[in-house]
C-alpha cells in the first residue's frame, strides 16, 4: 500500500469513527434496546437450561430415542428376523419337496390343523357322560379302556384338557 492509499484509509477511518461517535439519540436508544433484548434472551436461555426437571426430561428422551434407534438397527429383534428368514430360505432350497408343495403350504397347514381338531373332537365324543362311565367292555379295546387306552373318568379329563 502506497502513501496516498494509506492516507485515504486513515482519513476514512477517522470519518467513520466520527460518524459513529455522532450517532443521534434515537439511534443510540434503539441500539441499547437491541443489546438489552439480546442479553435478556441470553439470561432466559441460561434459566431454561438450569431447570433440572427439564434437563432430566431431555436426557431421558434422548436416551430413549437412542435405545430405539440402536434396537432397530443392531438389536436382537432385527437379527432374529434375519436369521429366521435365512433358515426358511435354506429349508426351501435344500428340501426334496416340489416348489408347488411350498406354494400350497398354507393349504396343507390348514388341512393339518382341521385334522387335528377332528381328532380332538372324536376323543371328546368317546368320553361323553351319556356314553357311560367307562364300564368294562364299553371301550373299543374291550377291556374297560377306550381307544386311547384310558380308563374311566380320568380319560374324560385328559381329553378335555387336550382340547383346552
Amino acid at each position: 500500500m502506497n502513501e496516498q492509499e494509506r492516507k485515504l484509509v486513515d482519513a476514512a477511518k477517522k470519518l467513520l469513527d466520527q460518524s459513529t461517535a455522532d450517532l443521534d439519540g434515537e439511534t443510540l436508544t434503539r441500539l441499547t434496546r437491541a443489546r438489552n433484548r439480546a442479553l435478556a434472551r441470553q439470561t432466559e436461555r441460561r434459566r431454561l437450561f438450569r431447570r433440572p426437571v427439564l434437563l432430566t426430561g431431555m436426557a431421558a428422551s434422548l436416551a430413549t430415542a437412542a435405545a430405539v434407534v440402536l434396537l432397530a438397527f443392531f438389536g436382537p429383534l432385527g437379527q432374529d428376523a434375519a436369521d429366521q428368514n435365512f433358515v426358511a430360505d435354506m429349508g426351501l432350497l435344500t428340501s426334496d419337496e416340489s416348489i408347488e408343495f411350498f406354494e400350497d403350504i398354507e393349504f396343507y397347514e390348514w388341512l393339518s390343523a382341521v385334522d387335528g381338531e377332528e381328532d380332538d373332537l372324536s376323543r371328546v365324543d368317546g368320553d361323553r357322560p351319556f356314553a357311560g362311565p367307562a364300564g368294562p367292555g364299553l371301550g373299543p379295546a374291550g377291556d374297560g379302556a377306550d381307544r386311547n387306552g384310558c380308563r374311566g373318568a380320568e380319560c374324560g379329563d385328559v381329553g378335555i384338557s387336550r382340547i383346552i
Binding site: Q4, A11, K13, D22, D24, L31, A34, R41, Q42
Partner: protein, 171 residues
Amino acid sequence: MESFLQSIERPAYRVALIASRNREDALDLVQEAMCKFVEKYASRPSEEWKPLFYRILHNGVRDLSRRRKVRSCLRWIGLGAADDRDPWEQFEDARSPDPEHQTKVNHASRALQQALSELPLRQQQAFLLRGWEELSVAETATSMGCAEGSVKTHYSRAVHALREKLGDHWP
C-alpha cells in the same frame, strides 16, 4: 458479554447502514445479529467474538440483499411500492459546534459512505473490517467466510476503487 456488545454496536450499525443504506434495516440487522450471536456463540472464547459477530451480521446483510432483489422484481411487475428517498438523508446527524466545519465533514462523510456503499459487498466488508475495525487478515477471513488470500484481494481492490471514486483531494 454486555461490554462486548456495547463496544461493537455502533460500528456494527455503521457497517450495516453502509451495506443496507437504510436506517431501519440497519437497526434490525444489528439486533438480529446480537440475538443470534448471544444464542450461538456466547460460550466461545472472547477473542473469537468480533469476527463471529461480523460473520453473523454479514450473513444478515446478504439475506437482506436477496430479499430486496425479490422486492424489486415485485416492484418491477407492479406489485410493490416505490421508495425514492435519498438513503443518506435518513440518518445524517445535524449536530455541530462549527457549522462550516461540520458541513465539510458531513460532505466528506457522505461522499465516503456513498463510495463505500457502491462497492461490491465483499470489497465493502473487507475494507470496513480490515481498514476500519482493524481485524487481522485471519479474523477478516473468518468474518467473511473466505480464504485469507481472498481478503487481501478484496481489500486491495476496495482501496483502489475508493481512490478512484473519491479522487486524490478527498477529504
